[in-house]
Amino acid sequence: MGLLTSPGSPIDAGLNFWLILPLGILIASGVGLLLGLPVLPLRGDYLAIVTLGFGEIIRLFLINRDDLTRGSQGLSAIPRPDLFGFRIDSFTEWFYFVVAAAVIVGFCTSRLRDSRIGRAWEAIREDEDVAAAMGVNTTKYKLLAFASGAAIGGLGGVIYAAFIGFISPAAFSLQVSIDVLAIVIIGGMGSTPGVILGSLILIGVPRILQFRETSDFLANLGWLRDGLNGLIGAVDAVTPGSIGRLPPAETWGAQIADDTRFIIFGALLVIVMVLRPSGLWPSSRRRLEFAHDDTPAPAPVAAP
């Protein structure tokens, strides 16, 4: 669903940030609504793959329509926001701004979850047919879910664009989706504290690894690198071809943060699913849901 952020940022240089913000949210939720309409009857993995397909279509469409987005070159010189005459510019100011936005969104979603709408969503998630039988208008609430999910995505997209100062359809690439997916799954699906914990770990640890202090510390591990390289050399001597050597120890942190991160994320997704499918900090409901794992799955019911 993170892919929906891309249509949420059609920022024309020159417009005020505070004008674009609601506009972006509005457009994003409109697009979410439009995409939600045709996929309403779909469930489960078909829904997942259609969402993926839509994401690719939109991305390819935006890249190929150079007139709209200048293709993969993207749009640059996006203005930064003013707040009551105070310009949000420095990194620290951005930090407080984004945290404030996250807190507001977090508050809104938690209120939403406990509202009538949230209860309807939960009922639909547990069992759509039963929910419908209990009088929940599933069409309305599912569309509402698409729209509000996309609205939050649009908000994120607009803030992201203003922060980076540059967007292109290519920038909302697979890697952002992988980050988001890993955060949600590893933190705990449907759990707000889980998502916060997940992003602190999955985004924070790589950043720490990039610090100068980390590489200074890692520089002490030269002996470890020499030892491992000796081992690799021994393996290399008996196998055809060459498998290369480890890079200098002080670059390990940056290396992991950069390239190796996604290899680790991929492995973590599998490990979490196998060992702790509800995530690090599960929502209580999800924990119960996955706790049924040990009971045998009910026999598939044949469609009439």
Binding site: P38, V39, D45, G53, L60, L181, I263, V270
Partner: protein, 318 residues
């Protein structure tokens, strides 16, 4: 309503042959998706990466056997060797993936194996990207050039080889599924795992064989892809993977002949179909739009006809 086509006959026959070529690859890969879906009701997201691993293994084998230095009849042997190496690599990878990432999740909610599969896919893709420093590798340019044909119909040797060997592999697979004991076990498990196990079928073993057969097809597709397109890279599995899944859905997921037919329909839709659209006034879709066509087809089919375009009987799926 007959529409006068502005382009020559040879142009259209070229597009047709191109469609058959990519369609063959989609069909081979789609078989893996459709068979796994048939028995496990799960989208094996890592299948595109199994195809990628096969392609890289075949590349390694060809280079080790002499690469561009190869000439004469040895080339045929080298390609056969590369295919065998690629199949072994894909099959081993697939068996390990099944054991570590999918089997522990048997009986879990359906979302769990799907996410696990996405994890494997990300893992393998970035592992290979890092090992190759995200640079492309180039298959040795050893396949004889030239083409044969009659009149406006021309087909290059490599295209002929690709299409013929794909069809041969698919015929072989079809025979295995229809005529052998193993094939009968696979069909039984696809129909109903519980009943199959009551009849004495070892369900876990059968599922492993399904992964083996699908991965073998993907391995062959990997080498054929490399020989035809020459450029391979760690991220090469994603797009063909999604498209092969599209092909499987087109033909009705779970159906083996459907996956083969779906592959060719998709291949032709991307080439001939795109050019036909270009014949309409005001339409000019370049080559980069073929992915859009494929994904639009996928979304349309899933929404309007989730049992596939050839579906006769309704399959049991939610």
């Amino acid at each position: 309503m007959p529409v006068a086509l502005t382009l020559s006959v040879s142009f259209w026959s070229d597009q047709f042959v191109n469609g058959l070529t990519t369609g063959s690859l989609y069909a081979l890969i789609a078989l893996g998706y459709t068979m796994v879906y048939g028995v496990l009701k799960m989208i094996n997201f890592a299948h595109g990466e199994v195809f990628m691993l096969g392609s890289f293994a075949g590349y390694g084998a060809l280079v080790a056997m002499g690469g561009n230095e190869l000439s004469g009849p040895v080339i045929a042997l080298a390609i056969l060797g590369a295919v065998i190496v690629a199949m072994s690599a894909s099959v081993s990878a697939s068996v390990v993936i099944e054991r570590l990432a999918y089997r522990p999740l048997r009986g879990a909610p359906r979302l769990a194996p799907l996410i696990s599969a996405i994890g494997v896919s990300i893992f393998l893709q970035y592992l290979v990207l890092e090992q190759t420093s995200a640079r492309a590798k180039f298959y040795p340019d050893i396949f004889p050039r030239g083409s044969i044909g009659a009149g406006p119909f021309e087909i290059t040797y490599i295209q002929l080889f690709l299409i013929a060997s794909s069809v041969a592999m698919m015929a072989l697979l079809y025979a295995v599924i229809q005529r052998t004991r193993l094939g009968r076990a696979i069909r039984a498990v696809a129909e109903n795992p519980t009943n199959a196990s009551l009849m004495g079928v070892d369900v876990n073993r059968t599922i492993v064989f399904v992964f083996i057969l699908g991965a073998a097809m993907a391995g062959v597709a990997g080498v054929l892809y490399g020989l035809f397109f020459q450029t391979i890279r760690g991220s090469m599995g994603f797009i063909p993977g999604i498209k092969a899944f599209t092909a499987a859905v087109l033909g009705g997921i779970g159906s083996i002949p459907g996956a083969m037919a779906g592959g060719y329909v998709l291949g032709l839709a991307e080439t001939v179909g795109r050019e036909l659209l270009n014949e309409l006034p005001g339409v000019n879709l370049g080559n980069q739009w073929r992915d859009v066509i494929a994904f639009t087809l996928l979304v349309t089919i899933l929404i309007f006809r989730p049992t596939g375009i050839f579906a006769q009987r309704s399959t049991t799926r939610a």
